[in-house]
Structure formats: structure tokens, C-alpha cells
């Protein structure tokens, strides 16, 4: 939480500095879908797969353009990092969808290149995130809710033919021993932007958020770590604040 506060303060300082000097401050809105994967080890769990799941993110980018080719950007973001645990074969039907929401602050340098209006860019940086909430939805075979006719007819063809499934859709209750709610990681991205009227910049970017910290606290020896790998597509628009103000000012006179 302290890191998040620090990052917000840094963004605010940038904003104030740019209003006074010649630099170009920009701010805007962005959002888009993402695909998240939980990278972990489950070799000892038979017929069990961890699969990626779609989510979405929405953010408010605030940036500072040092040169035409270099900018510093921060974008407080609401982002979902979801994943799915799915059992296969005889156990098909047993699954758990994990929907996790983070408040994330990415800070990155944006290197841009190309013409006046249409430009390409590359983003590199890091982020801090706080896991605010989670929701789990799934079905598990229920050992004390047997299908009473299972053994009187033919062999069951699935675990849910032997035990009725218990379906749930509930808020995830954090475990303070287990869950690491702070996440830090790296950002890499590339995209194209188009500037309109020298004020508005529209962009489309592919982004990769690579968590470098475990989703769990270190609570046991030889623990299998879990990392989020998030691939997103972001559509956004920023406005050059100073240009906008000067344009408005000219119009007023």
C-alpha cells in the first residue's frame, strides 16, 4: 500500500511540474481485454491443468513528455488477473475459475519513433499492484453426496457420475498466512499511436505484465511459487494538457 501511495504522489508531482514548465504533460484514459496465466508447478496433480483466463483492465494514464521520443508514464489501473483450474478425463466437470482484481500502478518509459502523427512506441518499466478482491466459481465432486444409483447400473463414466458436484460462486476469503496481496513486476509493451490536432493521441498497445513476486507468502519450505503473467491489449487516448489549455485560452480571447 505504501508503494502505491508513493507512486500516486510521484505522478502528482509530475503533473504539477509540467504545468509550470515547457514540458508536455498528458493524461487520458485507456482500457482493454487481457489474458492472464498463472505460472506454477502442479506435476503431482493428475488430470489437473491451470489455464489462462480472460479479464479486462481500465486505467488513467498520466505522462510527461521529455522529448518527442521519450516520455515517462504512470497509469493507475484497475486490472483483472484471472485463471482457471480445470480437471480433465474422468474428472471433467471439476473446475475453479479464479477472478482476481488488482489495483495496479505501472510506471514506464515510452520510447517512440516514426512520423509526426503516426508513430510507433515501445514501453518498458515496472509496476506495483495490490490484490484487492477475488471471486471463485467452480464445481467440485462432493464425497458426502454420492450418486446412490451409481453402483447399481453401469460403471460411472465421470467422477460427477459417482459423486454429485457442488457448484459454488463466492467471494474469495483471503488467508493472511498464505496470500501475498502485494505484487511487483515488469512491463513490456509495444504499440502504435496517432496524434490528432496536436492535442489528442490515440494508441493501441500490446502489453505484458510479468509478476516477479509470488502470489503467496513464503509459508513453507520447497513451496511451489505462483506468478501472474498477463498479456493485454490496450486502447487509449491521451490529451496534451498544456496544448489544450493554451488552445482554450486563445479561443476565449
Amino acid at each position: 500500500m505504501r508503494v502505491l501511495t508513493f507512486c500516486c504522489a510521484a505522478a502528482l508531482v509530475l503533473l504539477l511540474c509540467s504545468l509550470k514548465g515547457n514540458a508536455q504533460l498528458f493524461l487520458g484514459a485507456e482500457g482493454g481485454p487481457n489474458m492472464n496465466y498463472l505460472t506454477t508447478s502442479n506435476a503431482s496433480e493428475p488430470f489437473t491443468n491451470y489455464r489462462g483466463m480472460r479479464g479486462w483492465n481500465i486505467g488513467i494514464p498520466v505522462g510527461y513528455q521529455f522529448f518527442d521520443w521519450l516520455a515517462l508514464e504512470a497509469a493507475p489501473t484497475y486490472i483483472q488477473k484471472n485463471f482457471d483450474i480445470v480437471r480433465t478425463g474422468f474428472f471433467t466437470g471439476v473446475y475453479q475459475k479464479n477472478n482476481n482484481t488488482y489495483l495496479q500502478l505501472p510506471i514506464n518509459l515510452r520510447f517512440s519513433f516514426g512520423g509526426k502523427a503516426l508513430r510507433g512506441f515501445v514501453d518498458l518499466g515496472g509496476y506495483g499492484a495490490y490484490w484487492t478482491s477475488g471471486r471463485i466459481k467452480g464445481t467440485e465432486a462432493n464425497i458426502l453426496n454420492e450418486v446412490d444409483t451409481a453402483y447399481q447400473t453401469v460403471n460411472p463414466t465421470s467422477v460427477l457420475g459417482e459423486n454429485y458436484g457442488y457448484s459454488y460462486d463466492q467471494k474469495y476469503v483471503f488467508n493472511s498466512t498464505k496470500d501475498n496481496r502485494m505484487e511487483f513486476g515488469l512491463i513490456g509493451g509495444a504499440g502504435v499511436s496517432y496524434e490528432l490536432f496536436q492535442i489528442y493521441t490515440f494508441y493501441l498497445e500490446g502489453r505484458y505484465y510479468r509478476a516477479m513476486t509470488d502470489q503467496q507468502k513464503h509459508y513453507e519450505l520447497n513451496q511451489a511459487p505462483r506468478y501472474n503473467d498477463n498479456y493485454g491489449l490496450t486502447l487509449g487516448c491521451t490529451i496534451k494538457v498544456k496544448k489544450l489549455f493554451s488552445t482554450l485560452f486563445k479561443k476565449d480571447h
Partner: protein, 398 residues
């Protein structure tokens, strides 16, 4: 300049991406060699992390076991009898505090086994298994002949298969004082009832379905019952109810680390598919310190009923239902691959799920407490009384 800066940053970025912890894939416990003590230890320790259902409740410090016992197993460099004795001793010391009261280590080489719950019970009470006159003596000479109305007595013994072993299966039924329906059975293997025990259950269920409105009460006696098949829950209790009810919750493993658990799923009894009646008379279950597993689950199911009552003593404390580990990604597992044949070095018999009673209490390792305490004694037996059945009769017929 821009290219230099970008190149530097890209280099730093790529270098940092490699700074994650290594994700090593922990192999299945059976994948380790079964004739190398350090590997056997590693396999067992990992298997417990992944498959044991009571982490977070159990107070055993499993990391400390690793720190203490890994160096000791590393010193067992020869796979022979003296080292085997030491290895078994270490495994017993590591597990003696585990609360899972199903938990048993079966050593394939020597045929030895170790059950921590038995170890602890004998430590606190050396007469734990000897100071009860039940079940054999009471059943042989007391209940069938003193309590059950002679004309109604049906009893028999068959042999059934429980978890791959042939065990004697005894059942007794009849009426007590004309209007209390009594049923005893030694294991939960009702679906395997044969020529001798089949008539016992036929009598009980016929009486239940035809005369339940005339019954003053029902007594189900699971004292000394070591448990058995889960499907008997609906078959027995489900014939005495006409609507489904929840009596507790179970949860399972859903990840390889210790605290990876599923949500709690309701444990239910459903009316039996081939017919049931709504028994409103008192249903009393008699259980004792030797009632294990399915006996305890059935006890909790019956005591949840508005007309249910548990009379006896605190049960054994092995409540977590159990099946093959592949079903629930947890529970029993085998350590080390065998050099020859199908067995490994050691079989770890442990629950596939954790059971929580309706009130939120987990009775694993401590046993289910009775609603009314009553215990048979040798003195009472010798004077021709079953104090527990007496308490049940008094409760039904005050």
C-alpha cells in the same frame, strides 16, 4: 542517444525477467526410487505437503521435520535391515503428532505399520482397547439374549471385502420392549450383506417401512464399528428421512502447497432412492471410543436430526472421508517405486477430505462428543447390564 537508452533499458528489462524463483516440478511420490532413504524421505515429505488434508489445523511443524530429519535420512547410506529399522523409527517420530486419525504408515518391506492415533491413545491410556466389554462380549451373550425380544431376534455373520481385506461382518436386529427397533452391524458394508446378514437388514428395513408409526424409537448401534463404505450413509439414514438435510461440510486439496483447499461443500443425507419413511420417533445412535470413520459420520448425521440423539462415549476421531487420491488431488499415496511388483516402499493411508460438523467444529483427532454420556463397564456386563443400551431405552421410554 535514444537508441542507446532503449538498448540499455531493454537489456536491464530482459535481465530482470529471469529473476523469478525457479519453478521446479515436484514429481509424484511414487516417481522416486524406493531403495534410497534420502529420496524416500524427500518423496514422503513432499507427498505430505501435497496430499495431507489438515495443514492449517494440525499443529505439527512440518518444516521443522524437514530440518531435523533430512540430515538423519541423509546418513542412512545403506539400504539394509538395521537402516530400515532406523528409517521406520524416524518416520514414526515425524508423524506421531498428526491429527488425522485414519493416518497409517504401512511399510512394505517389513510389513510393519504405524498409526499415530493409536500410538497417542495408548500413551495416555494403556487400556484404551481393553477396558470396554463391547462389542464381542456384549453381543455374544447380552444384547441378543437379554434385551432383544426372542421372537424378533435376527442375527448372522458373513465375510465382506473392505479395502481389499476379508473381514467378518456381523449384524443383529430385533425389537426391544416390543416397540424399540434395534440394529447392530460391525462394519459399514451393508451392500455386501450375504446369506447370513441379509435377513438382518431385511428385517430392520421391513419393520422400519411397515411399522414406523408404531415404533417408540430406533436404536442404531455402531459401538466398536470400524467404518466402511460411504454409500451406506444414504442407504441407512436416508431410509429414515423424506427430505435431504445437511449435517456438515467437507473440503479437499486444490493445489500442491499446504494451504491450497477448495471451499467447504455441504455433506448431505438424501432420502434413499428406493424409498424412505419420515421417522418422527427418537432415533438413537450408540457409539463409543472404538467407533471410527463412517461410524462417526453416521453418528453426526443422526445427531443432526431433530429426533436424533447420540448416546455413548467420545468417538475415535477419524472423520475425514477417504477414497483414492486421484479423485480429490489429495489423500492416500504411495512412497517410492517398487523394485519389483506393484507396491512401493511405503503406503500412506490418510483422509481425502476434511470434515467439519454443522456447528463448525472439526472433530478430527478428538472425536465426536456424545449428547448423553454412557459407557459400558466390565462390572455392569458381568451383572448382565449394558449401561449404554439402558441409557438409550431410558431416553426413548422414560
Amino acid at each position: 542517444m535514444r537508441h542507446t537508452a532503449l538498448a540499455w533499458l531493454l537489456g536491464i528489462f530482459l535481465a530482470l525477467t529471469g529473476c523469478r524463483k525457479t519453478i521446479s516440478s515436484t514429481p509424484e511420490a511414487t516417481s522416486y526410487p524406493g531403495d534410497n532413504y534420502p529420496d524416500i524421505f524427500q518423496s514422503f515429505w513432499n507427498g505430505m505437503n501435497t496430499n495431507y488434508l489438515f495443514w492449517g489445523i494440525d499443529t505439527t511443524n512440518w518444516d521443522n521435520m524437514y530440518t531435523v530429519y533430512k540430515p538423519l535420512f541423509d546418513k542412512l547410506t545403506i539400504f539394509d535391515s538395521p537402516h530400515e529399522a532406523l528409517a521406520e523409527q524416524y518416520f514414526q517420530q515425524m508423524t506421531q503428532g498428526l491429527i488425522d486419525s485414519h493416518y497409517t504408515l504401512d511399510f512394505m518391506l517389513t510389513g510393519n505399520s504405524f498409526n499415530p492415533a493409536t500410538y497417542r491413545k495408548l500413551l495416555t491410556d494403556p487400556n484404551y482397547f481393553n477396558d470396554s466389554a463391547f462389542p464381542a462380549a456384549v453381543l455374544d451373550s447380552l444384547i441378543p439374549h437379554k434385551y432383544i425380544d426372542p421372537a424378533s431376534l435376527v442375527m448372522g455373520t458373513d465375510t465382506v471385502d473392505l479395502e481389499g481385506s476379508n473381514v467378518p461382518f456381523t449384524a443383529v436386529s430385533g425389537t426391544v420392549q416390543g416397540s424399540i427397533l434395534y440394529l447392530y452391524f460391525s462394519n459399514f458394508a451393508l451392500s455386501q450383506a450375504g446369506a447370513n446378514t441379509g435377513p438382518v437388514f431385511n428385517y430392520f428395513f421391513n419393520m422400519l417401512h411397515r411399522n414406523y408409526t408404531n415404533l417408540k424409537g430406533i436404536v442404531i448401534d455402531v459401538r466398536g464399528n470400524g467404518g466402511g463404505e460411504i454409500e451406506d450413509l444414504d442407504y441407512l439414514v436416508g431410509q429414515m428421512v423424506t427430505s435431504q438435510f445437511t449435517f456438515g461440510y467437507t473440503r479437499y486439496k486444490n493445489g500442491v502447497n499446504r494451504l491450497d483447499y477448495t471451499p467447504w461443500a455441504p455433506a448431505v443425507v438424501k432420502p434413499w432412492v428406493q424409498g424412505s419413511v419420515n421417522v418422527t420417533a427418537p432415533i438413537v445412535i450408540l457409539a463409543d471410543h472404538l467407533s471410527v470413520s463412517m461410524s462417526e459420520i453416521t453418528t453426526m448425521a443422526i445427531k443432526t436430526l431433530p429426533n436424533g440423539k447420540f448416546i455413548g462415549t467420545r468417538t475415535w476421531g477419524a472423520n475425514g472421508p477417504l477414497t483414492s487420491s486421484v479423485y480429490f488431488d489429495g489423500g492416500q499415496f504411495t512412497i517410492g517405486s517398487a523394485t519389483f511388483g506393484s507396491g512401493g516402499y511405503m503406503f500412506v493411508y490418510t483422509s481425502s477430505s476434511t470434515f467439519k460438523y454443522l456447528n463448525g467444529d472439526i472433530y478430527e483427532g478428538v472425536g465426536v462428543p456424545p449428547d448423553i454420556y454412557a459407557r459400558e463397564t466390565t462390572a455392569a456386563y458381568l451383572s448382565g447390564d449394558d449401561l449404554v443400551l439402558d441409557a438409550a431405552i431410558k431416553y426413548i421410554n422414560p
